[in-house]
């Protein structure tokens, strides 16, 4: 078979790169997002076909087999995963991408004599390995395989510094001498730093770490493009690195934190340590019927959904409740905190899945001023995102995070599983306020009971 000439190859790669830019552009708006994603997938297909017809490749049956295996594993998982578990799946896919980049760089090391190329190889190895191991820890935290609390031990900063120092030393030696054995050591050091980097991050900050590691993988892919002299990898990797950085900053801003603070000062002083204790103070708990009366005779209700709703798969029931209330002439909206759920925008996806109209989903900045004129704020499985401690308690780990101002509503109803604090592990003073009513139980069960009672009014 004759191979495609370099000009055509370059043109096809350029077309694929343009597809990726259009894909990201399309993802800017709900109207064009799906088409954008398909354009991206088309670009990827184009690029993969191009590499087969433009480079002299051996082992083609093996390669095709590996592609079949990779797709055969990933596609069914991606198709079947519950939307609540999607954040950890994205973390997993991100990790394997980083791992692939690191392996590509490792295998290219013996083929180059150029010190500058070895700089790119060392970068890809380290960053790809950090992304792989870090994503693995993120996955474990989100999947509940390990604690979501920050994991720290006394020597952690010193150990981290030591590992990084060793990595820099090994990196310099690899750049100067191109030793493959030392590159393997570098790979291991990268894996260890990835684990150490993510362990101390608290549960509430995990989504930001996924986004950051996504940007890391992008940069690793870009660097591997420099190693292979492949422009498409450079462009695609850089696009993801740059957009991932912006996204990470936007997410951190939504939580009132800085990215550096999350990575290195994670919940400083371990102030979450003692928060497992559940307070014995009295709260006002109530029945589903009482909650139904509160809701059914209100004029304006705002529903604040949180991860508890998603875990209980209660989004469909919440949507039904909203419809039932609207049928009674009540004005109902959903207030979506930017980090409600486990990723920014995660809650929007879950509610969209339950067919809640797009225009009923209000962003925090849009709806916060409306709580003052709201009769009932119904908080379903959310805690940290409505915790006034973020505004009032300067020592609190979530201090500075913008919250939904549900305390301004005339009545606040919490549907909660128990009095246990939320993901960030901080007690919520709002639960003890006089305007607050609690209904304990699984979010979906409680919603079903309230819905039945509302229909019976």
């Amino acid at each position: 078979m004759t191979l495609l000439n370099p000009t055509w190859t370059a043109l096809l790669y350029l077309a694929a790169a343009a597809c990726f830019i259009l894909a990201l552009k399309g993802l800017n708006s709900p109207r064009t997002a799906r088409r954008g994603n398909l354009i991206g997938a088309f670009g990827a297909l184009l690029a993969v076909v191009t590499v087969f017809v433009s480079v002299k490749l051996d082992n083609i049956p093996w390669i095709l087999g590996a592609i079949v295996v990779g797709s055969g594993v990933a596609a069914p998982v991606a198709r079947r995963v519950h939307m609540t578990q999607m954040p950890q799946l994205v973390a997993l896919f991100n990790g394997v991408g980083g791992g692939a980049a690191a392996l590509v760089a490792l295998l290219e090391l013996p083929h180059t004599g150029d010190a500058w190329v070895r700089v790119a190889i060392v970068f890809t190895l380290l960053v790809g390995a950090v992304s792989f191991a870090g994503s693995g820890v993120t996955f474990a935290k989100l999947q509940g395989l390990m604690t979501t609390r920050p994991v720290t031990f006394p020597g952690l900063p010193a150990l981290m510094a030591l590992v990084l120092l060793a990595a820099v030393g090994a990196g310099v030696m690899v750049i100067l001498n191109g030793w493959l054995a030392l590159a393997l050591v570098l790979l291991v050091l990268g894996l260890v730093s990835g684990i150490l980097l993510v362990l101390p991050v608290g549960g509430a900050d995990v989504p930001i770490v996924i986004s950051l590691l996504n940007a890391f993988t992008g940069l690793a892919v870009a660097a591997s493009g420099l190693v292979l002299g492949n422009v498409l990898l450079v462009v695609a990797g850089t696009l993801v690195g740059a957009s991932g950085t912006i996204l990470t900053r936007a997410m951190a801003a939504a939580m009132g934190r800085s990215v550096a603070g999350i990575m290195f000062g994670a919940f400083k002083g371990g102030s979450t340590a003692g928060s497992t204790a559940v307070s014995e103070r009295p709260v006002r708990s109530s029945s589903a019927e009482d909650v139904a009366v509160l809701l059914g005779y209100a004029q304006r209700v705002i529903i604040v959904p949180g991860y508890g709703l998603a875990v209980a798969q209660g989004q469909h029931t919440a949507a039904e409740l909203a419809l039932a209330l609207e049928a009674r002439g009540i004005d109902v909206d959903f207030a979506i905190h930017p980090v409600a759920g486990r990723m920014p925008g995660h809650m929007n996806v879950l509610l969209a899945e339950a067919n809640v109209p797009y225009e009923s989903l209000k962003e925090m900045s849009e709806i916060n001023s409306e709580f003052k004129t709201t009769d009932v704020a119904l908080v379903v499985g959310a805690n940290d995102v409505v915790n006034p401690a973020a505004k009032t308690t300067s020592g609190s780990p979530i201090y500075g995070m913008p919250i939904l101002e549900v305390a301004d509503a005339r009545q606040v109803v919490f549907l909660k599983r128990s009095m246990r604090p939320g993901f960030a592990g901080i007690e919520n003073e709002l639960l003890y306020e006089p305007q607050t009513t609690l209904l304990f139980g699984d979010a979906k069960d409680s919603l079903t009971k309230v819905l039945g009672a509302v229909k019976g009014l």
Binding site: I21, L24, L27, R31, A33, G36, N37, G40, A41, A44, V55, L57, D58, W62, I63, G65, A66, V69, G70, A75, A78, R79, M86, P87, V90, F93, G97, A100, L103, V104, L107, S211, N214, T217, G218, V221, A222, G229, N230, V231, V234, A236, T238, L239, A242, S243, I246, L247, M251, D331, P338, P344, G345, N348, V349, A352, N355, P357, E359, T373
Partner: protein, 110 residues
């Protein structure tokens, strides 16, 4: 390609990357992250090149493992993003009317 051209392309791609996502609403942050995640699966191209030039069985084994990982990233990433976005369709009012509906809905409330 020479180093200077690659550097130029890299710097320009950084600006395109910043520009193209700077105005995304938080509603679409998750699909955007997932879509960007799928795009870096294009490391598959690199993995294929390395596997196709492998002479040693060990090198081939590692390269094929990289191909599997990269394919999982690429295919899984696009599929899961599509599933997420699928849910943004099929609502009572087409999303293209959102802008027109929004101001009226606000006035009603005041």
């Amino acid at each position: 390609m020479d180093g200077m051209s690659l550097l130029t392309i890299t710097v320009l791609a950084v600006f395109v990357g910043f520009e193209v996502v700077s105005k995304v609403s938080s509603t679409l942050h998750t699909p955007l992250m997932s879509g960007a995640n799928a795009i870096h699966g294009i490391i598959l191209v690199g993995a294929i090149i390395v596997a196709g030039q492998a002479a040693d069985p060990w090198v081939l084994a590692v390269a094929l493992f990289a191909v599997v990982l990269a394919t999982a990233n690429l295919v899984g990433g696009f599929v899961v993003t599509d599933r997420m976005l699928e849910m943004f369709r099929g609502r009572q009012r087409p999303p293209s009317n959102v802008d027109a509906v929004e101001p009226g809905a606000k006035e009603r409330r005041q």
